[in-house]
Symmetry: none
Subunit: 421 residues, 2 copies
């Protein structure tokens, strides 16, 4: 079974709104083994919609559309589909009653436009909308399925989950698909590809690897398709285990994990605390840590020490260290971490000092040069990185790398303590 | 002139990644009067890419593609296009040198895969990539333009802005379109719509208003299309001036302005400095301020005081204030701002204290309750806001609002000083 998705709306094709509906539908279909050939976005325009339908039906068994079902004049999807499928619009009393009830419960008037929304094609199955006034429509023609849903995300999502997916599962014998995603920090895509090349080229048929890079984080996705569920699960698990072995020094999580959440959970579970001293990251590490609900349990706070004066005055880094080694140095970043640990009285501290750019670089310390330190009560560890030229990306790379260094230090500290007990 | 956009990548068609590239490209093309017929996303698959190209060229003068140009095995766009346009791949020495230089400056090895990235079709114009190793390609065939760009957002964006758009402007006689965007903080879309309703309904034909809301910032875009450039400019300016008058208390900038940049520039120009004390915003204000290159000239640093202990110990807020009024109060947030001003010895200080959620709310101080204070040497001003229930949005709203309060205090301070002279 293959499908195409068509999202309809001027706001998408003029770039005013990012189409997030497609990714949701694609993910839901993909989970049950329905492949997506193509996603198309078109304007609220009859010819564009017709052309998208003509193109989509050529290669897909299922076409799912969203958008253009609202009550206003620019919403033309329903009338366009009615013409496309040779339907007559008839007032559906059940739908009208639900619209009246829905609007009534929100103390909203039922307008003529709303009544028109209850006029639906006579040759489609109606998908009820529990969260709005626009019904979904399910057409079938020449063995192909065409489904039209509202563009409002939560209305569409509810219909996909409660109506569309269950119906597909009932009607089709679907292949079995598994995706596993492994999250890494600390290496670039090309280096990773080199390390994995012989493993990758020996992957059995039906199993594929994809590299999904973003600043500071490289995701690896292994996908497998097959008809024998248990055999496929076994094979995927075997491959994932082999992959882990090859790159375990870079792996920090899997699937939708976030490094700030993993590190935060690790602190929370072990009743540990952390504080941060940020120079080049300028508050980004703190922002990431505090983006997690409940972070106040383990995050005590941070000092953004952007000037040398503050590094000495508030953190207590020695002026001499800064003069001798420079602010971007192993000595200073270690001192920053150690002083922060004491100032905030935490179990762990993280510090960054680097040249985010675009200016401030020198021959010996070009833009991107970044020192990161992590400290516990027993040890301090620092490492130098050369990130690149792009300020925003440097800040992200330094922040994710710092959080991963923190995560590793927490883990080794816990292991050591367990060893002593 | 009409265009189509094709984004290429398995991660899009399986729904793992939301395609944000299309919206950016669509907006940039739309600004210069090139309409977008359709946006298509396809997998990293030869047949899908070929079919998308065949479909797109039928109706568009310009086809812009992104994705599939990376160094790894799943990136097949370049080879697919070479076959589609009957090209031979030849090693481009200039490109190879740039790749070597690019990777060298990051202490990264040049792998065989990277060298392969310098092998480019012999019948396209190369678009250089200043931020990565994948070049863009500009093909022309039968009067139609086909442009392939990397999928990495900032690489693609730079090429669109520096190469693609300027070339289109040079080559085509485009209709005349004006967009003016006004940026506001401090009011919701529905309140704004009420305030503007009579002005909006009196807009002359050809001129339209769009509301573009995001957390803490509401953009208003006035668009006009016409053939008489000077007449249109006059009319748009007249309407923008009227709009300004209606909402001047909310306006902080226009077009692509960022509140953190406007506020930063204001500080830089007047040789002023700022420090921040963040509780509920957790580092977001600092992160915004330091995202601007050159911010070290005016941003001294900040304390993220997530616990009450740190508010007293590092900032020196009186324990008594916290006990009597609570950490989320006018008294405490004002003290935070005033102490920060002294600690960092700056001209201005900003402080936030609130309940970001999802937990921590009470009957009298529900989630979203946020106090923000701004202080100068002469005055401290605080205001309470009730933002909402969503943690991430609350942090953004509080941060943008705090920066806008800072901006206003700087302006009134400068005005007062000018008055004294």
């Amino acid at each position: 079974m293959t499908s195409e998705i068509i999202t309809i709306g001027d706001e998408i094709t003029i770039g005013q709104v990012i189409d997030t509906n497609s990714a949701f539908i694609a993910e839901e279909l993909n989970k049950i083994g329905i492949g997506i050939n193509r996603i198309t976005s078109v304007a609220d325009n009859k010819d564009s919609i017709n052309r998208a339908l003509d193109n989509a039906r050529e290669n897909a068994d299922i076409v799912i559309m969203t958008g253009g079902l609202g009550p206003t004049g620019d919403d033309i999807t329903k009338n366009t589909l009615a013409k496309y499928f040779g339907s007559t619009l008839v007032l559906n009393q059940v739908v009208l009653d639900r619209i009246k009830e829905f609007l009534g419960s929100r103390s909203m008037k039922v307008t003529d436009r709303n009544i028109k929304q209850a006029e639906l094609p006579d040759n489609c199955k109606i998908i009820m909308n529990n969260y709005g006034t626009a019904c979904g429509m399910w057409f079938e023609e020449k063995g192909k399925i065409f489904i039209s849903l509202p563009g409002v995300s939560y209305e569409m999502k509810s219909m996909i989950k409660s109506d569309v997916i269950p119906e597909f599962k009932k009607r089709f014998k679907l292949p079995f698909i598994i995706h596993k995603t492994i999250l890494t920090n600390g290496t670039a895509e090309s280096e990773m590809a080199d390390r994995l090349s012989s493993w990758e080229s020996n992957l059995p048929p039906g199993i594929k690897l994809a590299y999904l890079p973003s600043p500071g984080i490289l995701r690896l996705r292994i996908s497998g398709t097959g008809n024998d569920k248990s055999k496929l699960e076994k094979e995927i698990n075997k491959q994932v285990n082999e992959l882990y072995k090859l790159i375990s020094d870079y792996v920090f999580g899997h699937e939708d994990d976030r490094i700030e959440e993993i590190t935060g959970n690790l602190l929370a579970k072990n009743n540990l605390t952390v504080a941060v001293a940020e120079s080049c990251t300028g508050g980004k590490i703190s922002e990431l840590l505090t983006s997690i609900p409940g972070s106040s349990a383990y995050f005590k706070g941070s000092v953004v020490a952007y000037s040398n004066e503050i590094k000495t005055k508030i953190l207590g880094v020695s002026e001499n260290s800064i003069t001798v080694h420079g602010a971007v140095s192993e000595e200073v970043v270690k001192e920053m971490a150690e002083k922060t640990l004491k100032l905030y009285n935490t179990g762990f501290a993280v510090a960054t000092s680097g040249i985010a750019g675009p200016s401030g670089g020198t021959d010996t310390k070009p833009v991107g040069t970044t020192w990161i330190a992590v400290a516990s009560k027993n040890e301090t560890f620092a490492r130098k990185y050369s990130f690149g030229e792009h300020r925003g990306r440097n800040i992200l790379k330094a922040s994710f790398t710092a959080l991963n260094m923190l995560r590793k230090l927490i883990l080794t500290t816990i292991e050591k303590q367990a060893g002593y007990n």
